[in-house]
C-alpha cells in the first residue's frame, strides 16, 4: 500500500515525540520499522519531504547520519 504523505508524516512526528524524553535523534531504520510493509525507498521519500518542509533536520557525526525534529535536542552554540 502506497504511503500517504500527511498520514506518514503525522505518524513519524508522533513517534519522535513519544521518544522525546529519551532521545532526539533517530536512525533511518527507526522509521522503516514504523512502516514494516513499505519499502525503505518509499519511507525515504517521506523523510526527504519532511526535510524539505524543515520539519526534520539531518544530524551527522561525519560518519553516521540521523534524523531529528528541527529545534529538538542539544546543538552546538550558534549551530541553529
Amino acid at each position: 500500500m502506497a504511503l500517504v504523505y500527511e498520514e506518514a508524516k503525522a505518524k513519524i512526528v508522533e513517534f519522535i515525540n513519544s521518544k522525546a524524553k529519551m532521545k532526539s535523534k533517530f536512525y533511518f531504520n527507526d522509521f522503516t520499522a514504523l512502516f514494516p510493509d513499505e519499502k525503505g525507498r518509499d519511507v525515504k521519500k517521506i523523510l526527504t519531504g519532511m526535510i524539505n518542509e524543515e520539519v526534520l533536520v539531518f544530524w551527522s557525526s561525519g560518519s553516521t547520519s540521523m534524523y531529528g525534529l528541527a529545534g529538538a535536542g542539544k546543538h552546538a552554540e550558534g549551530e541553529d
Binding site: Y27, F28, N29, T32, K39, G40, R41, K44, L47, T48, I51, N52, V57, F58, W59, S60, S61, G62, S63, T64, S65, G68, H75, A76, G78, E79, D80
Partner: protein, 437 residues
Amino acid sequence: MAKHKTPLLDQLESGPWPSFVSDIKQEIEHRYANPKGIDFQVPAECPDDLLGLLELSYVEGETHWKHGGIVGVFGYGGGVIGRYCDQPEKYPGVAHFHTVRLNQPSGMYYKTDFLRQLCDLWELRGSGLTNMHGATGDIVLLGTTTPQLEEIFWEVTHNMNNDLGGSGSNLRTPACCLGESRCEYACYDSQELCYQLTNEYQDELHRPAFPYKFKFKFDGCSLGCVAAIARSDMSFIGTWRDEIRVDQKVVAAYVGGEIAPNAGAHAGRDWGKFDIQKEVVELCPSQCIRYEGGKLEINNKECVRCMHCICVMPRALKIGNDRGCSILVGAKAPILDGPQMGSLAVPFVKAEEPYDDIKEFVEATWDWWMEEGKNRERIGETLKRLGFAKLLEVTGVKADPRHVQEPRHNPYIFWKEEEVEGGWQREISDYRSRHQK
C-alpha cells in the same frame, strides 16, 4: 607573526619529509600579510588558532574537537561535517571549523582555472587550508563557519559546475583511476562508469538512508591504482576473459636485454641481467607461465589476472581483448570488525553503457543491506553475519567456483529443502529395507 608558541609541532618540521605544520605556517603568514586585500569571511587567525589548538592537544594528550551536528546545506544530508572547538575563547578562529567535501573530478583531472577558483573561494570563505585529497578521494576544504556554507554551496554549484561529496550514512563520493584516458591496462572505462553511477545515485549521495557509509571505487585493472579491493564496499576491478596477448619477438628482446624490464623502473641500481625465469615465471602466483625454448607460454585458464608478468614486460604482454570488470563487495577498514578485503561477487560483467546489469546488482545489494543491515554496520559486516550465499541469493548471482576463496576451509554445502528432490520427507521403511538398525 603567529600568536601561539608551538614547540612540539615545530619538531614535526624537522626531517626530510614535507610537513603539514610548515604548510599551515605558510598560510598563517599569508593571511596576516593579506597581499590581495581579501575581505576574509572566516577569521584571519583561523590557521593560527588551528596550530595553537593542536599544540594544546599535544601538550595535554586530549582532543579539543567536538564533531558532528546539524550543519549542512539545505536539503543535503552529507558533504558538510560540523566541527567545533571546546576552547572557543582561547582559540576563536577555530570556534567553528567545519569541513566541506566536494566531489573530485573523475581521475582527478583539473584545469588550473578551476583550482584557482577553488583557492580563491576558500581564501575568502574558509581557512585557506585544503586537503587534496581526503581518504575517500574528495576535495576536502578544511575549516569554515556555519554562515558561509550556503554561500560556498551556491558558488560551487552555480559557478564551478561541481557539487558536494558524500559523508555520513550516504553513498560516499565515488572514486576511480584515470582509466582509459591514459592507461593501456584499463579493461573498461572506469571514469565513465564512475561518472554514470555518481549521476544515477545522486539521491543516495546526498540524502542518507543507509545503515552506514557505502563506498564505490573503480579500478581499470587489477593493479588497483585506487586500491578499490581494500577501500570500497563495492569495487569494480577491470579484468578480461580471453587470453593475455603475447608478442614472442618482444619477449625475446626483453630476454636479450634490448628492452629494460619493468619499463626501466629499477634503473637506479645494477640488478644484473634480466632473468625471465626468476623475475616472471617463478613469481606467477598460479604458476601458469612456462618459458622454454625461447617461447613464453601462459595457461590462461589458471591465470588469476595479477598482471605481474604484464608489468615486467609491458611491451611484450598485453591485456586480453574481451574486457570488462569484476565486482567485489565488502571491503572496509578496521573500525568494528577488523579490516576486510572485498569478496568476489560478480566474476565478469562487460561494463558497457547503459550499465543496466551493474545498476541492477547495485540496487539489489542495497535493498538487502538497507533491510538487514544493523545501524553502523558496513555491508562487509552484514555479509559476514548473514553469509555470502545470502548476497548471491538476493542479487540473483549464480554460485560459482570463483566465489570460493579458500577451498576446503568449509567443505559443507547447506542445501535448502526446495533444492533437494523430495524435500526433507522420506519413507523410513523404504530406508530400513536397505539399512539395518
